[in-house]
């Protein structure tokens, strides 16, 4: 039987190894030149008997029991008996005046650059919510940037309610110690709410994230990350909660023979992603998942749920925008262009929000919250825009 794994991050690598060890023929497909995903960024030396790793290959659609791939050899189809989706997540930005201008990137982009040894500016700010801001700030500082501030919009006291999750995951607190160098620059209940040139407006926030006072700082680069959004576009019709794929205790999604592991199911760090990968890989190959991995998943999910509660995005961010603030970067749709719509579809067609190149990956969630229409998940059919010529040339042979 053939198990195909999409994504070669901690979750995908674990799923591929586990499924191969259980006797399945495994193909692991990833769009990057090397395995590792966002956390390890090409530093994982992946090689495992029974696993074929297709590098530089993007999966752009799942159709029945086949995947549509685009890689160095052009477009092709790959058939599977069981599929594991381990495509990870990306940073959620929140818009503010100036976020679409130069000198603003996502925190993940800053981290990805830092892992390549590059920093874009001398004076930097990291703003958003969640523990991931700290490694990003640390990496920028290590590369010689001047860290003007790390601004966490939430209040740290929200973690005091999460004693159970913390005791089950003590090692996570240990991780924080490695970021102690940047803690003196950390301010909570604080956010960047505007940027004009190098003049950055930094606000103190109330518990709903409405600004209560502000000041000006000078920075060349602002890195933004308000949590993560899952890359679920390969399964447009799978059942989901807040856009994260729903899975059962064997990592099965609502789609037959399709499993999901890692940050597509929720955000809990690389160790949870890996444990989910082991469970999904075993289950996909028709084996009972190891008890140790199931237990690691159970604990990790406690932490993930606490993280989601403590760093939930609060609605006050909507007051940071002006009528002419960009909401959709691709189509340059401003706040005042958003229409009174009752559904996401109507909103897209009447305002053009989320109809651009990114297909709403960056803006759809924010646009839904700004207008109050229900967010429909990101129901796109084609995950990667492809030149039309390639669609026509798709070979029919199933390998």
């Amino acid at each position: 039987m053939r198990v195909v794994v999409v994504g070669a991050g901690p979750a995908g690598m674990a799923a591929a190894r586990t499924a191969a060890d259980a006797g399945a023929e495994v193909v692991m497909v990833d769009s990057e030149p090397e395995a590792g995903g966002q956390y390890l960024r090409g530093r994982a030396r992946f090689e495992h008997p029974g696993v074929t790793h297709l590098k530089n290959t993007e999966v752009w659609m799942v159709e029945g029991d086949s995947l549509h791939l685009r890689g160095p050899g052009g477009a092709r189809l790959l058939r599977f008996d069981a599929l594991v989706i381990a495509t990870g997540a990306y940073d959620r930005p929140l818009p503010f005046p100036g976020w679409d201008g130069p000198g603003v990137i996502t925190a993940g982009a800053a981290q990805a650059l830092a892992k390549q040894g590059v920093t874009l500016a001398g004076r930097v700010i990291v703003t958003g919510t969640g523990p991931f801001l700290l490694p990003v700030a640390t990496a920028l500082q290590d590369l010689g940037s001047t860290l003007v501030g790390v601004y966490e919009a939430s209040s740290p006291t929200r973690w005091l309610r999460e004693a159970k999750a913390i005791t089950a995951n003590r090692h996570k607190i240990g991780e924080l110690a490695s970021y102690r160098k940047v803690l003196p620059r950390l301010e909570t209940r604080t956010a960047v709410i505007a940027k004009h040139g190098d003049r950055v407006t930094v606000a103190k926030l109330d518990s709903q994230w409405r600004p209560i006072s502000h000041r000006t700082e000078h920075a060349d680069l602002v890195c933004v990350g308000y949590g993560f959004l899952p890359r679920t576009d390969l399964l447009p019709n799978a059942s989901r909660t807040h856009d994260f794929l729903d899975v059962d205790d064997h990592q099965r999604t609502s789609v037959a023979n399709v499993y999901a592991a890692g940050e597509v199911t929720g955000i809990g760090g690389a160790d949870l992603a890996e444990a989910e990968g082991v469970v999904a890989g075993a289950a996909a190959a028709g084996r009972r998942p190891p008890a140790k991995a199931l237990e690691a998943v159970r604990r990790g999910r406690l932490f993930a749920a606490a993280l989601a509660r403590a760093h939930e995005v609060q609605p006050g961010w909507q007051t940071w925008l002006h009528p002419d603030t960009t909401v959709c970067r691709c189509e340059k749709v401003r706040l005042e262009d958003l229409t009174d719509a009752t559904s996401m579809r109507e909103l897209k067609l009447t305002s053009r929000v989320a109809l651009g190149r990114c297909q709403g990956r960056i803006c759809a969630r924010n646009a839904a919250e700004l207008t109050g229409v229900p967010f429909d998940g990101q129901r796109r059919v084609i995950a990667v825009p492809i030149p039309l010529g390639e669609l026509a040339e798709l070979p029919e042979d199933k390998s």
């Binding site: 990306y90 130069p102 990137i105 993940g108 990805a112 650059l113 990114c358 990956r361 825009p385």
Partner: protein, 60 residues
């Protein structure tokens, strides 16, 4: 790296430096960095390992 960007010679450490306001997510999701690279249209520049001599053009 020595590259040609919209017809001008530039020396940069990373393609991100050429695309302020467009290089945004860094991981192939936002499509803000789409450019023509060495004659290939619609390339997400953030996923392209830059090499000496690369020719990059941004379309409007």
């Amino acid at each position: 790296m020595k590259v040609t960007f919209n017809g001008l010679r530039r020396e940069v450490a990373h393609v991100a430096e050429l695309l302020p306001g467009r290089y945004f997510c860094g991981i192939g999701v936002c499509f803000g960095c789409v450019a023509e690279i060495n004659g290939v249209p619609e390339v997400r520049a953030c996923r392209h390992p830059l090499r000496d001599g690369d020719v990059i053009r941004t379309q409007s």
